[in-house]
């Protein structure tokens, strides 16, 4: 039981402590996970990107699927932007301080496919101990 609790805590701790107070710039993306399947093979969602910085300045939010920044802010400490996106693979949002600058913070959105083109992966084996 103790081992099970430890595994549970290890699994969820990263999500619970995602906001690191020591970071200069904090980037938050919602949602971080998109589920796709055969019937809906691409993730069509509206993503909300929020950032907050300890220092006022010039900041740009970028999407790894685009070359141009999604939005830039001048002399700001925080910002928010929405992004309508259609994606089939993982992608990321990052924030930097202008053209050519390295990302200060990056957040990856996971696209998770819950089924397969191989029908055999969905077969039900009739084993008593196999409930999932």
């Amino acid at each position: 039981m103790k081992r099970f609790c430890a595994i549970l805590i290890a699994a969820f701790l990263p999500a619970l402590t995602a906001a690191d107070e020591n970071k200069i710039v904090e980037l938050t993306v919602k949602p971080l996970l998109c589920i796709v399947d055969q019937r809906t093979p691409s993730c069509d969602m509206s993503f909300r990107i929020l950032w907050r910085s300890a220092e006022r300045g010039y900041y740009c939010v970028l999407n790894s699927l685009d070359e141009e920044p999604l939005h830039c802010w001048s002399e700001q400490r925080r910002g928010e932007v929405k992004d309508e996106r259609s994606a089939r693979e993982d992608f990321s949002y990052s924030i930097n301080q202008g053209d050519g600058e390295q990302p200060i913070e990056t957040v990856t959105v996971q696209i998770v496919r819950v089924d397969s083109d191989d029908r055999r992966r969905r077969r039900r084996s009739r084993h008593v101990w196999d409930l999932l």
Partner: protein
């Protein structure tokens, strides 16, 4: 599940993770930890606890291994996938959790003059071979299977049809399914009957005919990340009337449930 099984899963998981990201790994490996149980319909038996559910499967172009089932796929097209499958019969698992007891009443409930020993008869795992057809679409998925004993244990056969459909909403995934199994008289008698040499005053000889089992299942998942999900599954199966009337059966239905956290490699 014993520790060596978990270590083996970790090694296989590393192999699966080594596959190129774009290509689907032939492995399907997962482990779920939590709590659940399957009720045991046999008299003087214990329910079957399920604390760990390990999923080990490998799918090649033709051959596959799926948690103990071995298969060879002979057809795969837009309409269906057909495979030859060898498996162990799952009814045997109930007979591993039984007790022997002395009773002072008979099968009909009448008092006995002497104590009689009731021992749930031992049954072997039967190896069965057959074929299965899988089809799917926007309407859900359908599985038909026919298996016959090839190990000389019961010399019977089983026909099975299973239908399910899944829906998702953001991180939630729900999949109800229903199934029907026809069990031949030979199979039914082997597992649920009582032979002459096993009988006594309290446990009479019992032979069964063929019968149909019905079942329903509901699986629910909440995806936390690519690898982690919270999962719940519940299953109900109603034994055919001949099996349910056996003196070694106390409950007509078996219930199974499991709730826990699942990791997919």
């Amino acid at each position: 599940m014993k520790a060596p099984g978990v270590y083996a899963l970790l090694v296989l998981g590393a192999l699966a993770a080594a596959q190129p990201a774009a290509a689907e790994s032939p492995w399907r490996l997962g482990v779920a930890m939590g709590y659940g149980e399957r009720t045991n319909p046999l008299v003087f038996s214990e329910d079957i606890p399920i604390v760990v559910d390990i999923d080990v499967a490998w799918f090649g172009k033709r051959f596959f291994f799926d948690n103990g089932d071995l298969g060879y796929t002979f057809a795969d097209n837009s309409l269906f996938t057909g495979s030859l499958v060898a498996r162990f019969n799952s009814d045997r698992v109930f007979f591993g959790k039984t007790e022997t007891r002395f009773v002072n009443f008979g099968f009909d409930g009448a008092a006995l003059t002497t104590l009689e020993l009731i021992e749930v008869p031992d049954r072997d795992y039967a190896v069965e071979a057959g074929f299965e057809l899988l089809a799917d679409g926007s309407w859900g998925y359908l599985q038909f299977a026919a298996h016959h004993d090839v190990s000389g244990k019961h010399d019977g056969y089983e026909l099975d049809v299973n239908y399910g459909i899944g829906w998702r909403s953001e991180r939630w995934y729900i999949e109800p399914s229903v199934g029907v199994s026809f069990k031949s008289a030979e199979l039914n008698t082997y597992y649920w009957g009582v032979r002459l040499e096993e009988s006594n005053t309290a446990l009479p000889v019992y032979e069964t005919g063929s019968g149909i089992n019905l079942r329903g299942r509901l699986a629910l998942s909440y995806y936390v990340s690519r690898h982690w999900a919270l999962s719940f599954a519940g299953e109900y199966e109603r034994l055919n009337s001949d099996a349910a009337s056996s003196p070694i059966v106390r409950e007509r239905q078996t219930l199974g449930y499991f709730a826990g956290i699942r990791y997919r490699f």
